[in-house]
Point group: D2
Chain length 250, copies 4
Amino acid sequence: MIRVSVVGAKGRMGSHVVAAVEGAADMQLALALDAGDDLTAISPQNTDVVVEFTVPSVALGNVLTLVKQGVNVVVGTTGWTEDKLNQVSAALTEAGNPDQSVFIAPNFAISAVLADHFARVAAPYFESAEVVELHHPNKVDAPSGTAIHTAQGIAEARAAAGLGPVPDATETDGGSRGQVIDGVHVHAVRLRGLNAHEEVLFGNAGEQLTIRADSFDRISFMPGVLLAVRNVDGAGHPGLTVGLDKFLDL
Amino acid sequence: MIRVSVVGAKGRMGSHVVAAVEGAADMQLALALDAGDDLTAISPQNTDVVVEFTVPSVALGNVLTLVKQGVNVVVGTTGWTEDKLNQVSAALTEAGNPDQSVFIAPNFAISAVLADHFARVAAPYFESAEVVELHHPNKVDAPSGTAIHTAQGIAEARAAAGLGPVPDATETDGGSRGQVIDGVHVHAVRLRGLNAHEEVLFGNAGEQLTIRADSFDRISFMPGVLLAVRNVDGAGHPGLTVGLDKFLDL
Amino acid sequence: MIRVSVVGAKGRMGSHVVAAVEGAADMQLALALDAGDDLTAISPQNTDVVVEFTVPSVALGNVLTLVKQGVNVVVGTTGWTEDKLNQVSAALTEAGNPDQSVFIAPNFAISAVLADHFARVAAPYFESAEVVELHHPNKVDAPSGTAIHTAQGIAEARAAAGLGPVPDATETDGGSRGQVIDGVHVHAVRLRGLNAHEEVLFGNAGEQLTIRADSFDRISFMPGVLLAVRNVDGAGHPGLTVGLDKFLDL
Amino acid sequence: MIRVSVVGAKGRMGSHVVAAVEGAADMQLALALDAGDDLTAISPQNTDVVVEFTVPSVALGNVLTLVKQGVNVVVGTTGWTEDKLNQVSAALTEAGNPDQSVFIAPNFAISAVLADHFARVAAPYFESAEVVELHHPNKVDAPSGTAIHTAQGIAEARAAAGLGPVPDATETDGGSRGQVIDGVHVHAVRLRGLNAHEEVLFGNAGEQLTIRADSFDRISFMPGVLLAVRNVDGAGHPGLTVGLDKFLDL
């Protein structure tokens, strides 16, 4: 039985995590904390894994405190820079417990993580590749961080395979060809009714491969969160691990 | 039996038209002319309808000559400006034959014409609308003329229905949101293996409507060409008619 | 200001209707009744339009009572047979008020209603047509009533246009070609994560037209319900009207 | 420079192979043979690799002869049974040349091979999975062999991961739920204008993953054929190899 505490338990994601943990046969909810609660109430005496879903401004502090408390941490909060990640790694080293680990996921949706991975695997075999992401119209940034990551992965895989630029004879364009990220065109659609979706298109003469991930609801992140809780341990994945793909059998 | 002559008979489209006419049970091929041939060989004595598929630089001259020859003309060549269309209308008026008519289609693909029409009909009922067009990477312009036309139709229908701007909270965008045509975002994908495709996306809270037209091959234009040949007559459609939608039962 | 009462106000759909009416600038909520409440509290003194969303076993009785009470009724409950519809029509005739009307919609999702309509309009122009519907795995019937209706509409339109059977050389099939409804193949997919979706595929040599309606959430029915409330009046649509398409500008 | 001979050089596929070999910078065409030609003209003196694209009734005989001739063989002809494959393996063993190998591909379309592979990788992570294949209406069997293979792969991966049956509450079905292959529902669409397409749908609560392979034209097989020619060698892949996935970096 994995004892799981949740930090940010009253938030939009955190409340789903509390319910998911309570519904999982191999887990039990330990502490459910939110803003203002004392994180040092969490310790190896009551908790095996903490799930942290708060806001970028407090997440680093929370994680550093939890590492000192000696528990494993699964982090769903976004906004991690190179510098912040280094501070987490350093804290783990200082803690000196080889069985302790921290896991940070930019995206817990398994479909999105698989799509991103498959895009990288497929990229070397196609002359053309483009990314279309589609989201609800309240999203303030475009394109999505997931789409940027996917485009970068495709670009790296193409470069490693010795592929040149994608074919594109466009001479006249008023902006319809999208944003070019490392040579890969990325398009962002905003549509009421949608949530978070990504489509990766690959083409050769006479053929197309399409990989699409749809997240209709944030409940779609829960299988990924539970998977992370089951895998965040120093034995299998020591230190800091970033990306749910590390916990999938790919 | 409709007697059909083809001008531009050796071209990429014209050669398909010759074959399509020969394969149609209600038509027979009269003259098949190409660059250098004398258009005045075509007359009501041998031809009911001429199909003109050449290049923009000669199409106007061809049509004016054919109108003088007294035959009906179906035109597939592109590049028609307001001024050129006026010259054709004037020539028809001067010819003075109420039974004679000219038909010009920017697009003969029935799926594309229907998609364009359906987009205009659906537009008043949705909060969001965007257009994605996808073509082979040798196309030099982006977005396609068809996509621009579709976006304009959606914008007109939204305005007529009293709808305001589409919802879009995007604050940060490096170009991924596409080209905005009359308030409608249009995205252009270029992918080896594709030919000509258009997808129109509509969204309301909780629902999406998608209309997609795929033209895999220029043979897809032939049903539209034959439909035009059967309908280009002064009785039903006097003077100059533009757009295959005029010949569909919509 | 349209005064709207809701019958079945505590139900899954009815509670959304109450919220939608309260959120509409041109409506005000009159009475919100549920099982056990007395429908005769509803009268022209307090209500212009009643929205009835209950269960098939009580809907006919509710509608007959409400017609006697002299109010217009919008019905979202399903399960209407020819006989039941006739009883409603007879009740309206007996009431003898030319300004009173009843509206019944098998489907309030505007995207689904438009897709169904577009399928019928497009059908005469394509050699092939098939329907794929996709729903959550808890649905007990397959294919959906909406898909059956769409297939029937396609079949009628094909027949009216003089089209023969769809081309199909299949000799060996263990069941993968789906259910054939009036000559149109219909396929039903059941997938966790989906709600209610329909895709209509049309094909000619070299081209495809796809029309797809996605309902992600029952909130997608609210624009259709409000549209019906605004249009259910004896002046514009006397007597009994069935189908949201009658209230759209198609 | 790889010296390539083609057997079945005048066939629909073979003629494309001849052109593809002539267009490849690292290959040169050796012999182009067709029905009636003597296969023993092919030998290591003139040929490194033979591409065999004929018909099932002669393919086994051709391959056995070519193995005796001492050359590597890439086979695109279909219709291979367990027994036939065993005869090829036995012939290779008898030939006794460790550098000689035979490669047989049920499908040379890279997009289809990748889709099939990705489906197997993704299968353990989703509650629901279904397969939809779409082909031209002249195809005589349904579902396609590729779709059957994909469904079997999904079923094996689900079983290995300990997943139970897919959720499906369907009680009433007139055939719309498709053919069930090892517990996976497979649907076959036949549409004029299409060629060969496969869509694999995975679902969890709140999310969907879709993998789609489109083959618009048989030219789409050529990159896969050239890839096989470059990889069919006894050093890297001794003996008999079946399936293009063995030559991809997956």
